[in-house]
Symmetry: D2
Subunit: 143 residues, 4 copies
């Protein structure tokens, strides 16, 4: 997952770093990248798939996540979060997310996360269909 | 501090909310407002006063903070952070910070914070002078 | 609110600091104290007043918070959170919370927070009664 | 990494969850597990290897992290963090970390993280030697 560039992704979202994202060593702490990933994924779902966090019947639970940290970033650096879908299953989906410094082409970090979609009330897995599946298909890198 | 409007402030910064800013009740948790305040203040110092978080000899320690929560906000709402300086002492300064929904004139929350400026190494208070004082003066609301 | 000691409070809870609580200057960031306050207050409500975060019909919204930072603390310091109730109204209550280093008598920070209790669904203020009021009365410092 | 039990690890640390660890769905947000991992690893280094976060010449940078989320946890659940070392290289080390509900034997989540040790000032990789290597060897599961 090293050497990923902006063009390896499909959707892009600005990320505002925060003072407290930096840890004792003056870099964004490894934990906070996942708060960027989480937000990028939900931003995609909200803007492209009509997801409404407080209301939608179908919600996503993260069941797996990982990150490769390639070069450090620090507040107040402005970042871009890049998003694509790598695999769509029946009720689960794999995302890839890249974190880029605003003016750089090579990713500072790349994350992979798996969402399982479930019913908001029963927490039972539910199929990815309709708008949601179409939005995800639009985020697959064509080859 | 209720009833503050955007024009009661001097500088403005966009704030990107994050998925995990929301707590169990679906609103931005009371704690996270302070991460917005912290970031707005530092953004002001960086952009207007030449502050470099990793290097500047003079750094600010928060010694007092408070917030009035007027109406709730929720991710993915886009916010604006508004900033002014209320009092400049020898080594300390009082800030007021307003949190506004992007298209609203009345603040959703207003914070007041006091910075004491100290030497990065000795942590002894140091006078607010030169660029730093000028930047702060430029953020005082003229009456 | 300076010079508060452990005996000025009624209930005590251990606080585990986290690596990322420290900011660039190696101290617990001013924001994170409020996550301690939040947790101490809820811990009191859960243990003393039978509050169940995911279920109770009556929930508390923070409408005002403040903190005086007296001396810095740093991960991995073990902390004690001390709690008392300063005022009980019809539907609102004022708390004071002290943050102490494990073996110190003088508070490193003191917070004051106001909860308004509301109905979980309607968000309308509701009276503090029964167990909840009794628990709060038990946290008032007798003079 | 599913089906890991407490006895698959070597060191154990209590974890205090916080109110704001829970997200909108009432579970600890996927991001916060990494703040537990981060803290467990540093706690091990501090207690077993004499690491002093603010001073030690040799510090660790996380270059890779991952988590499998097996069953959800929620504040105010008390948790146990379990730790072992899976591989020790020249300057890098692989950790496994398990998150357990206090009274359960099967992990709720398992993380894998890689630290590269570097010089605090130059950020150049440095060999894992002496106390640090011994501590790590003591955390390897013998087979």
């Amino acid at each position: 997952m090293e050497g990923q560039s902006k063009s390896d992704f499909v959707f892009y979202f600005p990320i505002t770093t925060r003072w407290m994202d930096n840890d004792m060593f003056g870099h964004v702490n490894n934990v906070n990248y996942y708060s960027y990933f989480d937000t990028i994924i939900n931003q995609f779902l909200i803007e492209q798939a009509g997801f409404v966090p407080q209301k939608s019947k179908q919600i996503g639970f993260i069941v797996k996540s990982s990150c490769n940290y390639i070069s450090s970033v620090s507040y107040p650096q402005k970042l871009v979060g890049a998003f694509r879908v790598d695999r769509i299953g029946n009720s689960s989906v794999d995302y890839a997310v890249g974190i880029f410094k605003e003016n750089e082409e090579v990713a500072s970090a790349v994350g992979c996360l798996t969402h399982v979609f479930v019913d908001r009330d029963s927490h039972k897995p539910t199929a990815i269909k309709g708008n949601l599946r179409e939005a995800m298909l639009s985020a697959v890198v064509s080859t």
